[in-house]
Symmetry: C6
Subunit: 70 residues, 6 copies
């Protein structure tokens, strides 16, 4: 996690989810499932916002997988 390369497919996939304001679910290693729209990403975190406009700062180090909702 030492670099944040915006050209990587995984970074671009998250960037597209931000643009398209898609709902996602993120499964964490703590076994939590967090849901919402992706507001922004940086080197360490992905910021989600839910239906009540509450934001959750998710640490990348804790992410197991991310899934766009269908």
């Amino acid at each position: 996690m030492t670099e944040f390369d915006t050209g990587l497919p995984s970074t671009r996939m998250v960037q597209n989810l931000i643009k398209e304001k898609k709902e996602v679910e993120i499964k964490l290693m703590s076994d939590d499932l967090v849901m919402g729209k992706v507001l922004w990403q940086d080197q360490h975190c992905i910021c989600l916002v839910d239906h009540y406009d509450q934001s959750t700062l998710v640490w990348r180090q804790a992410i197991a997988y991310l899934k766009p909702k269908v």
Copy 2:
């Protein structure tokens, strides 16, 4: 976690929570939920203080997510 860039959105978001003395909850990979106000952050840790003025030194490596309380 090799650098501590104060210009990153995630670092600034935590910095704002410090300034505004906002209550937060931090979910850890150990499945613990710790709550309090953020006193300070450095490269390795985030320091919380609770209603009884007790401080808890949270290791960044263990953070799953952080949420400002509503």
Copy 3:
């Protein structure tokens, strides 16, 4: 996880699974088991797609093991 060396046996094994469109199962440290075909891999993630064409972005950091399905 600081480099992505396409010459490594493990990277090439995943690359072959992509070419052969093989079904795999990936066990995660969150104890989840995700299944599907590998679409692509980059330095941080492996992207799976399931029978309903839904994609799942799996973070490498969370992978315990990967097994081609028989």
Copy 4:
């Protein structure tokens, strides 16, 4: 965890706990809670000693949080 900067607030907070011979509790990602006085710290570990003079070498990588006992 690639450097051990004795000037960091978190490192100094632990250093103060050593000087003051304060009891602490450390919650680990294995979900264990270890207690005792901090004898010393280095780049990889924090060494605790309990009432029976038994020492426990705690790996920093496993620490979720540390709390001075009240």
Copy 5:
């Protein structure tokens, strides 16, 4: 895990297990126990093969311990 030094005792021990075609068991941090013969190792993974010739790609990052079977 940033380098793969074939001169390290631990790397050589695994290399010997490959040459001797010894059965091993590997305990993972996901709490899984995988068993088989070690086919090869690289910087990120250890590849096991079981009695049915099925291979399992184990990520080093997930290994808790490895034991030659007796």
Copy 6:
């Protein structure tokens, strides 16, 4: 965990346990408790041997704490 500095207190403490052939217990993040004498350590692993002369290769990345037995 990018360097193996034999001058660090934690590395020297393990080195002394090797010389004194002391029994230790190591708690892992997988929640396993492994016991035995420390045979050797390198940058990635600590090798234990039990009463039946069976060796266990413990990955440092998985260690929560280490305790000399009393």
